[in-house]
Structure formats: C-alpha cells, structure tokens
Amino acid sequence: MIGLQLVAIIFALWMLYFSYLHYRRHEFNRLEFILWEILWIGLVVVVILPHSVQFILNAFSITRTFDFVVIVAIVILFGVTFRNYVLQKRLNRKLEELVRQLTLK
C-alpha cells in the first residue's frame, strides 16, 4: 500500500504543478486554478491521512478510503466527460458556422 500511496502522491504533486503552469499561462482563471488545486491537495491529504475522511465513509457506508477515492474519481470523470461533450458539440457548431460564413462570403 505504501508504494501505491507514493505513486498517488507523486501524481497529485505533478498535477498540482501542471495546474499552476496552466494558471501562469492564463489558460486557467483564478477560480479554475483554485478548484483544481483543492482537488489535488485533497488527494494528497486523503492518501497520506486516510482516516481524515472517516466521517464521510461512515455517512455513506463506504468501507475503505480507497473505495471512496475511486467513487469520487468516477463522479468527477462523468462530470468532466459531460462537460467535454457539451463543449465539443458547441465548438463543432461554431466551426461549421465559421467555415460556412467564409465559404459564402
């Protein structure tokens, strides 16, 4: 378990740095930056101190902290996938309109 915890911490720190880089490049606004940092710091905290979320595990009848992390990850993935889907549809439509306008000009 220690090895897996180490990998998770390295990954989270790596993503913390990437989130910061995107913020510095003005690709994330401040709110996005804070939200992503909370997510990665939260992951580090849960990995180092699994009992810190014991009250949540009790409230939702989840046995292991690992299960909790996986459930949260899946929920986030669904959310991000949905948002990507909506954005992709919107971009497709905008691109089509732009190409059509250029063609008919």
Partner: protein
C-alpha cells in the same frame, strides 16, 4: 420555377466534369460545394468555375454541412426549387425532369428519389436501407422506400421546415424526419443508380448512428 442543382463533393475531381455535363442538359444553375477536398482534387474542381458556381469549405465538415452551405447559396441566388444530388456520378441526371414533374405537378414540398431496392444494391445496404425505412415509418409515420438516397428535390419555401443539423450521413434521414414532423407534402419517384467499385456511401456504422439519431429526433 428557378431551379438550382446543389452537388456536395469530396475528392471527386475526376468524375465531376461528366456529372456536370449531364446535369447541364437539364438545369443550367449548378452549385458545387467542395467539402475540403485534397489539393489535387480541389484544383480540378476549381477549374470548373467558369461553368458552375464552385464554393469551397476550407476544411471537411461532412456531407450534411456541405449540403446546407449549397442550399443557402442557392437561396441567396434566388432559387425557388433545389435539387440535391451526389457528385460521384451514381445518379442519372436524366431523372431530374421526373423529380421536377412530381414536385410541380402534384404541388408538393419535397420529392425523394428512391433507388430500386434489391436490383443492383449491395445486400448489406439493401437490408440496412429497408430497416431504416421501417424505422422511419414507425417513428415518424412517413415511409420512404430508400431513406439514404441523396437524390431529391424540394421547394425553397420548405427549407425552413426541412433544415437539418446533421453534418454527416444522417442528413438524408433527418430531412425525412423533419418533413414528417412538419407535415410537409412529400412524394417519391424511382430513380436509376450506378454503384461504383469505390462507392463511399453509408456504412454499417453510419447506419447504427443514423438509427440512434432517429430515436433522438423522435424522443428528445
């Protein structure tokens, strides 16, 4: 009735001049939409500018999107009726009068040119087509024997009701769904078809996508 033929094409530089020659025997106003063909084909298509209106999508958007651009260009040129046909030579221009006679004679909004199912049509395509026809009939109450034929004619006044969003091959079926939902007057005529060896039409995967789109148009 001022009629335009709209032909969306992708990499059809070789066959297109022949198609245009054939169409010119019946209709003079032709709009070609080059939907992002490669350089070689794009330059061949561009050479036709002195004979027809050639418009070019800078990137490939799909057949449905090209058809919309073509139709909107035709309307801007004052078209009262529009004929859609494929640029690969699979449709016979000699069927154009048949489509127009039906459109004007019966005063209807859209005429679907249906290929003879079962004769020269590849088996997979025949079965898929039949399945989609039955689905169209069941879901929208409009049976068209060949839902995937791109050879059709409609009055410009019907375009706001027909206007499609599908950028790719679902466009033909979406037109049928829209015509049924908006209660347009529809007609159907038999047309001839030549299937080329390198036929690039609807695949089985496209068929599945079209079916799921039909469910979406019906229920969402």
């Amino acid at each position: 009735m001022k009629t335009f033929v709209v032909i969306p094409v992708l990499n059809e530089g070789e066959r297109l001049p022949v198609v245009i020659d054939e169409v010119k025997k019946f209709i003079q106003d032709i709009i070609i939409i080059d939907d992002g063909s490669n350089e070689k084909n794009a330059s061949r298509i561009a050479q036709l500018k002195n004979r027809v209106i050639v418009l070019r999508h800078r990137i490939n958007l799909g057949k449905g999107a090209a058809m919309r651009t073509g139709v909107e260009a035709a309307i801007a040129h004052g078209a009262e009726a529009i004929i859609l046909m494929d640029g690969d030579g699979q449709h016979h221009a000699s069927d154009i009068p048949k489509l127009l006679d039906k459109l004007t004679g019966d005063n209807i909004d859209i005429v679907f040119g249906s290929r003879t199912i079962g004769k020269d049509m590849p088996l997979v395509m025949m079965l898929g087509n039949k399945f989609l026809s039955l689905c169209s009939s069941f879901l929208f109450g409009l049976y068209i024997s060949d839902t995937q034929s791109g050879f059709r004619a409609f009055r410009t006044r019907a375009y706001p009701a027909l206007r499609w969003d599908s950028p790719r091959y679902a466009v033909e079926t979406e037109m049928i769904a829209n015509a049924a939902k908006k209660k347009l007057r529809t007609g159907e005529v038999q047309v001839q078809t030549i299937y080329h060896d390198d036929y690039k039409g609807t695949t089985v995967i496209d068929g599945i996508r079209i079916f799921t789109s039909m469910l979406r148009w019906k229920f969402l």
